[in-house]
Symmetry: C2
Subunit: 351 residues, 2 copies
């Protein structure tokens, strides 16, 4: 019988955090690509555009004028998917027709006053300011809502409609689907094995090494064993930390530095401003914040779509939407590629 080699032989892998399987078919990287190629990036974004509602001094859709902010700036999304006061749909009359109330708030957070920078091009102290703002907004909204979802859609390919560096924060009266899954799996793991799933996972990856991308005093970045997107990564603190506000000043500084390194590697991979969606997951808050959430470990997921070049992405369509996620290179291959990339940004190297 042939010896199994992950880079040559298709197999399925289990994601114990989200209770899902992925089909890994690495031999498929060899196929030619004749499908859609993404439009090239806007090469020049003006540093300041008075008509861009995210810029300092600009007027937004609701008539409010932004301050001349010089760090981060948080404001209410003018077109929120969640509002604080929606009425309740009432009891459902049939188990196949269940609707429930949803309340919340949607905020936008600008990372920097300039439109022509991105996180990897910002300085470590500037990124640290963003981390502090993430911690504050989590604390503030977590006082009222059980789930505070911080996420960044970067790049037009990821549906981002504004080039100004920013993220969004959607807080909700309900635990969203993926939060529920992570709650269920982490709780079950802790009760069966007596330790948090992601603490043990990080520990194992440090021993196994083959999926590590970056390590620092307080943090790890790795391509998870069950990654779905070609260059997906998971960012984990080494210490058991349940939520962003619990991070110490030293952990925050170190996070700023490892984020800058990771995002620089991402940009260097295809010499482009690397698109992705990323977001933070931490223990639920709201009125139950005081309960025992020790099975939770804070983490960030990075989901970047690019597969082969700055213009060729992985499409999660057909089989993926109807049957199961499928990937074309192994997580170990992706980690190795990311590991070997320089930590100096390709645009700064050229200067």
């Amino acid at each position: 019988a042939t010896t199994f080699r992950a880079s040559e032989h298709q197999h399925i892998r289990y994601n114990p955090l989200q209770d899902e399987w992925v089909l890994v078919s690495a031999h498929r990287m060899k196929r030619p690509w004749q499908g859609q190629v993404e439009p090239p990036l806007l090469t020049t974004v003006p540093r300041h555009d008075p008509h861009n509602p995210l810029c300092p001094g600009a007027t937004r859709a609701n008539g409010e004028v932004n301050p001349y902010y010089d760090g981060t700036f948080v404001f209410d999304n003018d077109f929120p998917a969640l509002q604080p006061d929606a009425p309740n749909p009432g009891p459902s009359d049939h188990p196949l027709f269940q609707a429930e109330a949803a309340r919340g708030v949607c905020k936008v957070m600008c990372f920097h006053p300039w439109s022509d920078v991105t996180l990897p091009l910002m300085s470590v102290p500037e990124i640290r300011t963003v981390i502090d703002a993430w911690a504050s907004v989590t604390e503030e909204l977590g006082a009222r809502y059980p789930w505070v979802q911080i996420f960044e859609n970067k790049g037009a390919m990821m549906g981002c409609s504004n080039p100004h560096p920013h993220c969004q924060v959607w807080a909700s009266s309900f635990l969203p689907d993926i939060a529920q899954r992570e709650e269920r799996t982490q709780r079950a793991y802790q009760s069966q094995r007596g330790e948090p799933l992601l603490m043990e996972y990080g520990h194992q990856e440090l021993l196994r090494k083959e999926r590590l991308v970056l390590t620092s005093e307080h943090w790890l970045v790795l391509v998870p064993f069950w990654a779905v997107w070609p260059y997906q990564t998971l960012l984990l603190p080494r210490r058991h930390v349940r939520r962003l506000p619990e991070l110490t000043p030293a952990e925050r500084d170190d996070l700023a530095s490892i984020m800058k390194k990771l995002l620089t590697k991402y940009d260097n991979l295809f010499e482009t401003s690397f698109p992705y969606s990323m977001g933070w997951h931490g223990a639920p808050m709201g009125s139950d914040a005081g309960a025992n959430w020790d099975h939770w470990q804070l983490h960030a997921h990075y989901y970047p779509p690019l597969l082969r070049s700055a213009t060729i992405r992985k499409f999660m369509v057909g089989y993926e939407m109807l049957a199961q996620a499928q990937r074309d290179l192994t997580p170990e291959q992706a980690a190795e590629r990311l590991r070997t990339l320089p930590e100096v940004h390709y645009r700064l190297g050229q200067k």
Copy 2:
């Protein structure tokens, strides 16, 4: 207190078939769109291109020459994600690192010898030929594999790399993730309520009417109560049918006719060749085909990405990837819009 109105007040809805929630925020359709606009469609596809590997008489990547087929044509995918003989990864050494063997086959099915037609532009008898081919391939591969996934990625936006009308068939030695979910939910519903989930669901939608798009003697098309994609639909037989091969000749003719109507409405919605991923789900087969699968009801899902026009799509990014699916118009609004569209294709009307 304000009276709840689904088209004005955000709420969450439950998908009992896939055990998932969706956030419905219909008021959000009002926001302006400044993000990515899709490239316009290739307007002219040549009817025959000797260099297109899907065309009659063309030579494929493996050197084989296609016959001059005049109906459907099925062949092995030259770059398959699943192969029949991959070795087993062996036992896992840790519960967080689980891999399993995956075996299968990937086939491509051309719908028609011409590259410049799509299903809605084909005749009802031509579509009937496709349905017969779907039933045969299910029967053939289902003899060896527990799951046979038929799916069509239509349009460059859906990662389709060849304009020739075709679908794919991936059969696997494992039940894919979404099949496992549908198996679990349908089995539980049957055991709790004594009837198949989707039989009761179709029955309820016929009574409620507000989400119906098309009905015929043997079939229903509706926008499910829990739809995620803007114009997502579910196609269901009225009779309890577990798998495609069980369809009677009359049900197949009627299916060809209702598919032509649905896909014509889709093309008419934004006067474009409407992109989507679609696929069939039926009871598992393989060596357990003879077990009791009466809780399954055959169905097809259509997942089209367009939201506002031929070039403005819904992006399932950030919040959707990290927290929960979110939609911008209600399923009832989508159904009404589809219901009122003509059943004559806009390109034929112009002739």
